[in-house]
Symmetry: C2
Subunit: 284 residues, 2 copies
């Protein structure tokens, strides 16, 4: 594997090919992780691996061999460069209909992607967002994990084409605010940090967990609770976050303006100040 | 393409390989059809195509070229044999994150499968079923179409391993009966035929539509409505149906027995009596 660095590995092989009988394709029967690569290192590796393993357990997929996964990721990671590693883990190929034979060996896909072409100033200037019409259905058995059933997000993302709108906020079928199409959402009200409860739907993001921890460590009151749309409109500050963007202040939702406020800026600063040992775990 | 009949075509090519960047794999961003093949012909072809086109429209996927699809299916269909053709249509390969570039050419996968090894007497003897714990979430924007986000069905099917249990019945998050993991469900009460409303979740099956039509044509009163679990327990007869099994009487749900009743048997007979021209559409 010398010479050109591969950009895709499927079950350890340099081939961009998954059989059409893979259950990931047939049913979205799997999970994924999107990991920021900086200076040749996989950020928050341990957290991504823990969520991947939690997803395996929830779906009853054979747990991934973490050492092997780490080794394969390292083969793809370029040095001294910002990039994205995407890991997709499916239940595997086989079975008739929904019933999967056991044991079934998961399909392990690792992709290297260029860093997304977002404007550099989103973190400082903030972003415009909208409230999507497409709703998130409730299903406690799937909530929290980053599974491959993402049609709700795909449909929500199709609702706008204006490049100035950087993210869409999604409500659940009860009308509560849950998350962005590709991010988690936080709001600040009277200096308290509030983020939607994800018991019934939504993805429990790695950066969401890190932001909650940082807030607690620095005595910012945090509340994880159902968030009515009205609560969002009355917020003092709003921001979205994920593993790639970090924290982006929300300065507009539909026609309503929001400031880039002090709590958001403090959390951005805390995140930027994290020691390399926390942000830059090296898996191997 | 002489010699051995292929069993998989991907975009018309005899290759069982889908790129790992296909949105069907990444997000379950697509739809599928499972079609019974009898005597070399694709049963209910027109209905399957109509549902496929409806799915394309709902998800905003470029409509499939029906003539091309029919031609490719014919390449795979063996003669004088019972088999299954599965068509999978994804939005295609490409795009960063949930946002898909336009235009994007759908990925067209056609698979030939053996006829499932169900016991021959299910239609006469009836089957045992259970009520699954896994619920169906509500989402009107996805309800009815046969999309690739099927983790709910996968998890429900994992709830039992006893081969004597042929199907699991699924409730929605409100506790109403919606469908089987791989079938639609009907019940008979006081000679009226009742099937769950699928406005909020569930797949609108081809055989479900045909059964409703047959009932109406033969003056059996039909009702499509929300069905509480209690209504199921009080039913005189219960049956499940899909394109492959036709109608299977349900003779047990968990510990409660049900008879193979007269309305179920009448509908089975009507279905068996259908003229070849209705059941055996030839696509080309």
């Amino acid at each position: 594997m010398s010479g050109v660095v591969p950009t895709v590995l499927v079950n350890g092989k340099v081939v961009n090919c998954v059989p059409s009988t893979d259950r990931g394709l047939l049913y979205g029967d799997g999970i994924f992780e999107t990991i920021a690569v900086r200076a040749g290192r996989l950020c928050f590796w341990e957290r991504h691996v823990q969520r991947l393993l939690a997803g395996c357990e929830r779906l009853g997929i054979e747990p991934v061999d973490v050492a092997q996964l780490a080794q394969e990721c390292q083969l793809l990671v370029p040095h001294a460069q910002q990039a994205v590693i995407k890991i997709i883990l499916t239940r595997g190929s086989g079975g008739r209909g929904y019933h999967a034979p056991e044991p079934l060996h998961p399909t392990r896909i690792i992709q290297l992607h260029d860093w997304p072409g977002w404007p550099a100033d989103c973190a400082e200037a903030g972003i415009y967002t909208r409230v999507c019409r497409t709703r998130l259905g409730h299903n406690a058995s799937l909530a929290g994990i980053k599974h491959l059933n993402r049609l709700e997000q795909v449909l929500a993302r199709r609702e706008w084409t204006d490049p100035a709108t950087r993210e869409g906020l999604m409500l659940d079928t009860a009308g509560n605010v849950v998350e962005g199409t590709m991010s988690n959402v936080f709001l600040v009200k009277d200096a308290r940090l509030v983020t939607p409860d994800l018991t019934l739907c939504g993805v429990a993001g790695i950066m969401r967990a890190r932001v909650l921890e940082l807030a607690k460590q620095h005595s910012i009151a945090t509340h994880t609770q159902p968030v009515a749309l009205d609560t969002l409109w009355q917020a003092d500050e709003v921001f979205v976050c994920n593993s790639l963007i970090g924290i982006w202040p929300v300065i507009g939702i539909d026609t309503q303006a929001f400031p880039r406020g002090p709590v958001t800026m403090r959390l951005q600063a805390l995140l930027a100040d994290e020691p390399m040992s926390v942000q830059m775990d090296n898996p191997v």
